[in-house]
Symmetry: C2
DNA sequence: TAGTGGTCTAGACCACCGG
DNA sequence: CGGTGGTCTAGACCACTAT
């Protein structure tokens, strides 16, 4: 009786099922790809493809010579897409708008120098802007742009296009660090966001580089009730 | 003059550079894999491997018959690992501890029924627990566990092992939804967390399923100053 | 240094979907 | 329907690292 050939998804699901069911425990070693391939009646590259998926999902760890093991410290791995704010607002069916609050060339404050992984200060364009959804505050962003890396930004009319959109469309990055945390609205932020003073607001901080050159770091303060969700 | 063979990373980087530099714009169509392979002097499967990477990163979209296009709505894609809380605390060099505050079998409240995508109510074990780092509050979790899916949980001594750790180690999931948002500490939470009333706290909500069966939904309220960062 | 996973190839066939 | 990406194979060689 010949067994059916397996697709890489079937192979992945079979191995995943072994892990999910507890037949394999964290730290356990799996058979070599070649043995799995023979046992499952497929090519080794099919096993390899399945393992690539499991490895990226954080379920297994693979090492040359060391073999494949069930990841000993299971983690929940989540992926988020953060779109251009205008797209995000429009995807909600709302009308997008934005206001430039301030734009000024300033030396980078110490926190920004640190975010950029620099030692010496850096010339930056500081931009403060408010994104609106149906006329209501949606995100308040405080942004520092490294003018040495992005000199053209000085010629951009930031009342017409947000720095967020211009940068994403014109200055792709090779590295991006993100962090999320919560702050209380101080009186000024509360006024700008139309929130109660002291309201809890989710902050999304993002710093981008191209190669080793810093592009921008931004502190996006979201409106009350804002939620970030994994993409479905 | 023979050109060097390209590895899939080189192919990926070459295409990415075309996108990052603006030589290719959002929406633009790329040559077919076969043409790229000939042009770059590699096998089609090498181009395929490179495209797989670019596609997962959200840089390009690929469709059979439709070809490969630069993604028209660029997004920032971020991946987070959320470890078992004990591991997270210990990785910071702190001593881990936890306190079981409450455990009770309750019918699922409407919000939980909704989170589980159910229509009928569900028997749940409600667990409230505090994770500690060096004796200080770190995360307060409010958790509902679907006892129909995980009946064994009733026999677990939740003062010895946290429900968080027991579930992650014993009940792997096939689907996980996450959301992040900010709340203000109400008086009770403030007291438990040792925070000022009204303090802004980051909340991580997580719901997991195995197949279509709900496992657990948890509201993890983090201590003041907690930050979530992309893995490096 | 030997054993394991990682990559690459050439070729074949399949699955999807746009015109 | 035809053109594109997706998958699978068998085999070769390479790169890393546990022992």
């Amino acid at each position: 009786m010949a067994e059916a050939r397996r697709s890489w998804r079937e192979v992945r699901d079979a191995i995943r099922a072994d892990i999910l069911s507890g037949r394999l425990s964290p730290g356990d070693r799996l058979p070599r790809d070649e043995d799995l391939a023979r046992r499952l009646n497929c090519a080794r590259s099919t096993v390899q493809r399945a393992m690539q998926d499991l490895s990226q999902a954080g379920l297994v760890e693979r090492r040359r010579r060391g073999g494949t093991r069930v990841r000993p410290d299971p983690v929940t791995r989540a992926t988020f897409d953060i779109p251009i704010t205008r797209h995000e607002v429009e995807a909600r069916g709302a009308r997008y708008g934005h206001q430039l609050i301030r734009a000024a060339e300033l030396p980078a404050p110490p926190a920004v120098v640190a975010a950029f992984d620099l030692h010496s200060p850096e010339r930056t364009l500081y931009v403060e802007a408010l994104h609106l959804a149906d006329g209501r505050p949606y995100i308040l962003e405080e942004r520092w742009i490294a003018t040495r890396t992005v000199p053209e930004i000085r010629a951009v009319d930031l009342t017409r296009i947000s720095a967020n959109e211009w940068l994403v469309l014109n200055r792709p990055y090779s590295r991006c660090d993100l962090r999320f945390y919560a702050i209380q609205a101080d009186p000024r932020v509360a006024r700008l966001m139309g929130a109660a003073p002291g309201a809890a607001l989710l902050v999304i901080e993002r710093t981008t580089w191209i190669g080793s050159e810093p592009i921008t770091t931004v502190r996006a303060i979201t409106a009350p009730g804002y939620q970030l969700q994994t993409r479905t």
